[in-house]
């Protein structure tokens, strides 16, 4: 991915900024400018709470290029409290701890590195609720 493309996606990826539909109030992530619920334009930025639940998940042992440092890792579909489903890596969790319905929260982590001398790409991942893990 080119450096300009990283830059344009940053706000969306660092802190889960999506959009809210002015017409029906639906929250959109990722931002797509047209509401999937009512087809009206949706341009208003909306910062998601980052809270949700694991909807489904799968563990990756053979990672694509740039992600090798993290194997094995779990990728999940997360149902956000505001409604949308997003796909993201889980972090700070052991594979056997993951279960459907597990409450998770968004954190910003390194997604990958473009080699030893390239860009470090940061973005959202999800972890078990901190308060529950420490309990």
């Amino acid at each position: 991915m080119s450096i300009p493309r990283h830059w344009r996606l940053q706000n969306q990826r660092y802190s889960m900024v999506g959009e809210v539909c002015n017409a029906c109030g639906a929250k959109l992530f990722p931002p797509r400018d047209v509401c999937p619920e009512c087809s009206k334009p949706a341009y208003e930025p909306y910062r998601f709470s980052g809270n949700g639940k694991v909807y489904s998940y799968s563990t990756v042992y053979q990672a694509p290029s740039g992600y090798e440092a993290f194997v094995p890792y779990t990728v999940a579909l997360v149902k956000l409290d505001e409604g949308p489903l997003v796909s993201a890596q889980l972090t700070d969790v052991d594979g056997e701890e993951v279960e459907i319905g597990m409450p998770v929260e968004m954190v910003t982590r390194k997604l990958r590195e473009e080699g030893e001398d390239g860009l470090i790409v940061y973005g959202y991942k999800f972890r078990r609720l901190l308060r529950e893990e420490a309990a």
Binding site: F70, V107, L130, R131
Partner: protein
Amino acid sequence: MLLKPIRDVGIAGYGAYVPRYRLPGSEVDRIWTDGQGGSPIEEKAVAGPDEDTASMSVEAARNALARAGLNPQVLRAVWVGSESHPYAVKPTSTIVAEAIGAVPAVQAADWEFACKAGTEAFQAAMGLVGSGMADYALAIGMDTAQGRPGDALEYTAGAGGAAFIVGPAEDSLAIIEGSFSYVTDTPDFFRRPMQHYPQHGSRFTGDPAYFRHVLASAQQLMDSLGTKPEDYAAAVFHQPNSKFPERAARMLGFRPEQTRTGLLCPMVGNTYAGSSMLGLTAILDEAQPDERVLIVSFGSGAGSDAISIRTTEKIEERRDRAPRTQVYVQRRKEIDYGLYVRYRRKLHMH
């Protein structure tokens, strides 16, 4: 010589971060001395493979914003003090500022002074807010320190830190009474460009470096303010190990119960620029209104910043807006030396 701005300033919010992984000292000892050497601390916090000073600073900063109850757009500065910035050229602070939503009308810079880079940024934030140039400034001390495999530092070089939002006194959970800095050119510890691991002149680390600077800054701050050790509910000193801060506290006249809450080194290791600031967050988590706290950092090279604060009644409503420091300390996943080597990339794969 007291550092004190014209306008009264304080701490509007604070936030801690410690990664989840722990390397027991006994593991380092097992690998390098066949378990015969002992370890200066129980265990140290280790950053996960997807963590670095930038990502860790983001979480601490979000915690500080939550406690302060502030919109990130009111921040006029985001300053990160560290000796483990992820890039040699490209600020950590811009990544943090973007991720927390503080860009673009914000000053951003990275600070360096070994382990006191964080308190340096904090003092600068006092000046920025104290002059009236800004209402709020964010100062972070955060590190993912590395010791050379087999070196004495490998037992203690940990990961973690804290973020503080400095603001006007009337919106503060603790008023800053004043600060004092004591600096000399001392070759106790250094790392040249392109070198992965630091060098330390062991002859220099104790008396001429740590104790000389820490004792001087703390004593001169208290003399300037007219305070005594018994005026403080708690004190926290930079923690390269457990013994140095305990001895410094004793030499200044503090009792062990005054330093207990902030002494996190035995559980998380030496978090370098994060060390004394992280200890302060643990103290603030427990402090009552109208209590004095002394914080004393130390950075090799060498210098020490001492800061005296006094809590306000706002501390009680704000502290539970974000996870307490002990929540991070008690969250732990033990790893062995092999996984540590992998997570911290001590193996060359090519």
